[in-house]
Amino acid sequence: MSTISDMLPRHFGPYGGRYVPEMLVPALEELEQGYLKYKDDPEFTAELADLYQNYCGRPTPLYFAENLTRELGGCKIYLKLEGLAHTGAHKINNALGQALLAKRLGKTKVIAETGAGQHGLASATVAARFGLECKVFMGEVDVRRQYPNVYAMKLLGAEVVPVTDGTRTLKDAVNATLKYWIQNLKDTHYILGSALGPFPYPVMVRDFQSVIGREARAQIMEREGRLPSHLVACVGGGSNSIGLFHPFLGEKGIRFHGAEAGGRGPEIGDNAARFGGSPKVGIVQGYKSYFLQDESGQLQDTHSVSAGLDYAGVGPELAWLFDQNVVEFSPITDVKALDAFKRLTRLEGIIPALESSHAVARAIELAPTLPRDEIMIVNISGRGDKDIFITAMELDRENWIAFLENEVRHGK
């Protein structure tokens, strides 16, 4: 077989792989070889580094959350502020990397799936920057709940395609994008938005997102002269978490925490906690990993207040890290996430994305139990502006509705 696949991990333990219809294989092989060729190419990495710094505003700050630390009374809490990256979330790290690669592979069009709209926004942004035609597939439910991002994508010149199949959320957007890709392989690159899907996506997305952990590592060494003992991130597909964790893996004395969507509670269909209950392995959307599914293997409905965590599968590397007890996963309910959202906003003047609020909630649970001299880094994967239609409806309902009604009246 291809000798090249020996040089990039195709599997993580039993997980990952390339479970796709045969007609997708040539495109994935092309991508694999392209990625291998350019990932350490000095010109490619220099161009990406320049864009990270001068376009995205990297390195993003590692901020000592003094007030939160004091109030919780436990370990020292640092926040990695990915929300300050251009477009407001970590998703741009990966979208930029893939766009540079797509250019080098001679592609003129890009497509992307999106849940919260952050990855779609990042993809539309890099497409605008590099003159690529862009289509973003988005579940109809998410189009409705994340309209500010839909608007921004259109403004950037992307076409937003509402997906009306299945649960009309992220997983259906992934299916729709893969199918569109199968029909348009020649000139189109699929910018997959999380560390999942068929090989080489899980490794490629992880590599592009590892800039988070590399920076955090250098920043904490500079500030504290030592490594943290706890890392916390929210886990949708797994890209911001694996991006933070990866450069620290293998270090002794670090605990890795993943916060999943606990939604409305543990009932089937009420959450997206793949590691809650009894986790079940499956083969879906091109890779093997843990999936929320019934006993026949049908994917189950999911729910989360945050669209970005509302997904039935999880990246294969995290699945393997779960099996090895390296990453510990906990479900965080919608209520707890909203509470953490309010608390961080008030205490630190930082409005986190609802996804990231799950990580904050996990930190709030953990920190008081940990000694004061220990250090925790929490990834604030995005900022909360995009969620205004959800948070305002939850937290300031009457005024918000009055505002909307007024806007509509004036608009007409």
Binding site: P21, M23, N175, K280, Q285, Q298
Partner: protein, 255 residues
């Protein structure tokens, strides 16, 4: 090993039709009537799709049929029962088609056991590639009298095709275009040349499909491929005009 697939092909005069039904869409009873009607029209190769929530290789028509069947509560057990009942009644070779997670959830051996016990003659698992650890099921299928039917495309690179040909038996199923299932494409000269070259190389009967929606498409393949696969178009006909329309179409294909 020889089963109903081999017999159907051996006894065939001219091109054979292979049709596709999504089990449970619109209902198991209508499936049975539809398959009987197909058999009366001389169809001896029928794919029964076990519906799945995320059918990666299927276009909108078949995808919606999958979803409707699942919404109606169809499980793999119903599909095995449908296959069992009709394979006793009819001289038709049934191929159970589904996606990797269905056999994976059941356990591949158990899945193949059930498929064999339900009288199926083959399996089609388009997203389970032979070069993944649990995708190399061809031997296990044949041990149970089932042909492992592999799906390729015109762009499948030569080294992969070699790996597939080492494992495939019964039929080699190729798409005529790079794409997903769905009616509405036409056959061009490139497609004709491709099927000719493949047949010479494969040493297996060739089933060609994806996009066949007119009797002319079938006639175009006659003398080239051994089998023409008709999927989405049958669902579209049935949805628009009922079983009679399917009957008329199959009759026209065989003129």
């Amino acid at each position: 090993m020889e089963n109903r697939i081999d017999l159907a092909l051996k006894e065939a005069k001219g091109i054979q039709l292979m049709t596709h039904v999504v089990a449970g869409y619109p209902s198991l009873n209508v499936n049975a009537d539809l398959i009987r009607l197909m058999a009366r029209r001389g169809v001896r190769l029928v794919e029964i799709q076990i519906p799945f929530t995320d059918p990666l290789a299927d276009g909108p028509t078949i995808m919606r049929a999958n979803q409707a069947a699942l919404d109606a509560g169809i499980t793999p057990a119903h599909c095995f029962e449908l296959c069992a009942a009709l394979s006793r009644e009819l001289d038709v070779a049934f191929m159970l088609m589904t996606y990797a997670n269905i056999p994976y959830a059941l356990g591949m051996e158990a899945f193949l056991d059930k498929a064999a016990a339900s009288g199926a003659s083959g399996t089609i698992l388009p997203d389970l590639p032979w070069d993944e650890a649990d995708g190399d099921y061809a031997q296990a299928a044949r041990q149970r009298g089932l042909h492992p039917i592999m799906v390729i495309s015109p762009d499948t690179p030569a080294p992969r095709l070699a790996g597939i040909l080492e494992r495939a038996s019964g039929l080699l199923y190729t798409t005529l275009k790079v794409g997903i299932t769905g009616a509405g494409t036409s056959m061009d000269q490139a497609g004709v040349d491709y099927v000719k070259a493949l047949k010479a190389k494969a040493g297996l009967p060739i089933a060609a499909g994806f996009g066949i929606s007119r009797p002319e498409h079938v006639r175009m393949l006659d003398g080239l491929a051994d089998v023409a696969v008709i999927g989405s178009h049958i669902i579209n006909l049935m949805d628009a005009d009922g079983l009679g329309a399917v009957d008329d179409f199959l009759a026209a294909c065989q003129e």
